[in-house]
């Protein structure tokens, strides 16, 4: 039942509630849990992140690590049945690419599904239409997905829901790889736009063409 907003008493109450809500939202958002940056950094800096892969591209055909040699790239893992982290990460990356402008033209951004059973290259292609066209979706056989996930130290796990359905846990970090395919750093889910830009610029300045 929609509550009435006719009396001035209600209006006052609503006004107060609205401000309280906004204030509460600000307070709640501020200390939003950092996704274990420190813990991951120690794993990620082990210089073992990355490695060979050969997957099926959302643009058709295969894409392998060899195709990426000579240009830096960003790679992250997710799935399209993902309610928050994947669309938000893709959107954030799209915005970052927009801000990079021409400097980011050669940056390849790869979104690898950890759910190849549902995320065919065609489904990835359709999904990615909502984001920057430079982002490439990668799917493939389960064994090939497992191999690339292992290479990038990416954790994933199927979590059963009702009616035989499932959702997934997965690593949400965006790995930044240099022109030699070597690990250069990562972007965390809760990094703000400034931090994302700084990390991407550093990656491009290191090996890529200057803009």
């Amino acid at each position: 039942m929609k509550s009435s907003k006719l009396s001035s008493g209600t209006l006052v109450a609503l006004g107060v509630a609205a401000f309280a809500l906004v204030a509460a939202a600000v307070v709640a958002a501020a200390p939003f849990i950092r996704p274990g940056d420190a813990g991951v950094a120690s794993v990620a800096s082990a210089a073992t992140v990355g490695g060979p892969f050969r997957l099926v591209s959302s643009r058709g055909g295969a894409l392998s690590d060899v195709d990426l040699k000579g240009k830096p790239f960003a790679i992250f893992f997710g799935f399209t049945h993902c309610p928050e982290v994947c669309p938000t990460s893709l959107w954030d990356m799209s915005e970052a690419l927009k801000r990079l402008g021409p400097k980011g033209e050669d940056l390849k951004v790869l979104f690898v599904t950890v759910d190849p059973e549902r995320d065919t290259p065609e489904i990835l292609a359709r999904y990615l239409q909502s984001f920057d066209p430079r982002i490439i979706g990668l799917s493939g056989a389960r064994k090939d997905i497992d191999a690339v996930a292992r290479a990038y130290r990416v954790y994933w796990r199927k979590i059963p829901t009702s009616d035989g359905d499932y959702t997934m846990d997965h690593t949400s970090l965006i790995y930044l790889m240099d022109a030699e395919g070597g690990y250069s750093g990562f972007i965390a889910y809760k990094d703000d736009a400034e931090t994302r830009d700084r990390k991407l610029n550093a990656l491009l300045d290191a090996k890529g063409p200057t803009g």
Partner: protein, 189 residues
Amino acid sequence: MLNSFRIPGAFARLCRRMYLEEALAAAAFAMFLLTLSAQALMAHEFKAGAIEIEHPWTRATPNGASVGAGYLVLKNEGTTPDRLVAATAEGAQKVEIHEMSMKDGVMIMRPVAGGIAVPAQGSVALKPGSYHLMLMGLKQPLKQGAMVNGTLTFEKAGTVPVQFKVESIAAQGGSDGGGHDHMTMPSGK
């Protein structure tokens, strides 16, 4: 109605002036309150017994996506605890209650067994990075600006209709839908 007063002229004039002034003052006050409560009017509320359901919203979904997330705040003004146990949303095959969390860079998603407690005189928020309604089997993408009809079912307060407001794909909470903290800075380098 004012003309129907059958009282001496001076008193009638006084009454009339008071009424006018009161009416004007009331109008001005109403305008003031409307301005003040613009935020509240942009948000929306529903009620289930003693439980206030504040601003149910969802995020616009990418092309072909079959899942979405629903968020809202539940405030229990009553003296008995209750529990959100189920929900529905038009266009979604089913809605489940899930909890998301982050641990060492891993996004963790869990169905919440038995629903979400709404303590007496307390509140609980379904919000990004936490509890949410998982809209599954979406027949069509959720388009920003649309309203999605749905229901919430409470253990005690029963089932009530609600509407989820579809906010931007970047929305992370806040009634304006633009509160994504990644994106609040201008697009400078």
